[in-house]
Amino acid sequence: MAAPLPNRDFVTTIRDDGSRPFLFPADTHGRFTTVRRIWSLLLIAFYLSLPWIQINGYPAVFLDIAQRRFHLFGLTLAAQDVWLMFFVITGLGFSLFFVTALFGRIWCGWACPHTVFLDHVYRRIERAIDGDAVSRRLLDEAPASGGKLFKRVFKHSLYILVSAVIAHLFLAYFVSLPEVWVMVSAAPTAHWSAFAFMAVFTGILYFNFGWFREQLCIVICPYGRLQSALIDDNSLVIGYDMKRGEPRGKVGTEGAGACVACNRCVQVCPTGIDIRQGLQLECVGCTACIDACDDVMTRLHRPRGLIRYD
């Protein structure tokens, strides 16, 4: 069953009976999609490479919990330096608030690991195996068959494989790569707690990126809920130009605004909202609707930017 049309009175991805309509957001192409993809791949490369880079004989980031030594880019901190965490945490909190006041949810769309891995790793795998949004929805509604089973097994195996890689690299931040290698080479029972952590963490990643997805941003993440307290009229957010767009109408309609009611912005939205209804809690600022609308406007030889950062 497809998701209902977005409405501000309910969350698109939660039905009245509490069940979850799974979204099949359409592909986007354009300026923001390209820049965001390159940027995100850089971020992923950064994340995956940090444990491999040696500075002063230690990995660039090595939070050695067992020895209570925290190596950060050549700086080594001990347990008694924990008081510095006060400045780190308040500094991070303040930075997040400050950046939010100026640039809205730039973090969510461009830097949050959840979005980065979801949009640029897991959704890419899904896209490669199951095809575009329409094919994915049809495959989801199709009755069980050999081909569907094969695709499902293939896709979920890749999900689990990628999750395991991310989890192992994450563990490397805390025990260093050589130690991860030692533990991976040994039997699971030899490093039981590390193995359990790894299995559980891989499972959480797999569940989160394979199924949970936008629910994390909408229901769990507190940052989204705080938005109304953090932004004001001058914050940079993605919005729909209502003055230019309304009233909606097909090309050639007398008195119609720029919006042709093609609903492309709704089809590409990964959280299932209609951005034309204004800024909403669900919006993670992923810019998909900007590229989708710009694409349509360009084809109609109208100036782009009906939906834009403003």
């Binding site: 509490g18 979850r20 309304e246 909606r248 109408g249 097909k250 119609a256 209804q277």
Partner: protein
């Protein structure tokens, strides 16, 4: 021309939460099913957790884990002490790591003569207050190390080494209290075989 969709008017039948702040009210919607599943799952987990830690005491509390680790540290320290004296042997006898290791040695080496209950058979009783070759910890240690060949006690020093002997003596001492009376016994008379 499609008219601009207006936000739907509030549905009279849609249940609202009773509270109202600055005139803002919220709908009383059903929680997501996955959310309810985590709640029920947490309740089930709590039951298992409560049984494991609070009821059956299968899992160790943090205090017990710390105590175990401190015992391991002290055991290492005592085992590496340059000499053994009465005080250190008494300390060993109160350390569970040491006593457990000593029990293992005792039950493979000593039980044939002194019995599993240490009450003695061929060799003398080790849990009463009567001692033939001295009841102070260092005296017991010397007796075990050098043996009393005339009475059939072999010298265990070359066989077990000082660490295992310390452990075994600690195990024997774990049946005693520091400062309890030590009486001298002339000779051990084995009890009649049952």
């Amino acid at each position: 021309m499609t008219p601009t969709p207006k936000p739907p008017l509030p549905d009279e039948n849609e249940p609202l939460r009773p509270h109202s702040f600055d005139g803002i009210q919220e709908y009383d919607k059903r929680l997501p099913n996955w959310w309810l599943m985590t709640l029920f799952g947490a309740v089930v987990f709590w039951a298992g957790y409560w049984f494991y830690y609070e009821r059956a005491h299968i899992g160790h509390t943090n205090a017990q884990i710390v105590e175990q680790q401190l015992a391991v540290i002290e055991a290492t320290r005592l085992a590496n002490a340059p000499t053994v004296d009465d005080a250190s042997l008494w300390k060993m006898s109160r350390n569970p790591v040491f006593v457990d290791a000593g029990r293992a040695s005792f039950e493979t080496t000593c039980v044939s003569c002194h019995t599993k209950e240490l009450t003695g058979a061929i060799g003398p009783n080790l849990v009463d207050h009567l001692w033939i070759h001295g009841g102070r910890p260092t005296e017991i240690y010397t007796t075990v190390t050098q043996g009393v060949l005339a009475k059939g006690m072999p010298p265990w020093g070359p066989v077990l080494g000082p660490k295992k002997i310390s452990e075994a003596v600690a195990y024997i001492l774990s049946y005693h209290q520091e400062g309890e009376p030590i009486e001298v016994q002339a000779a051990w008379v084995p009890p009649p075989p049952k």
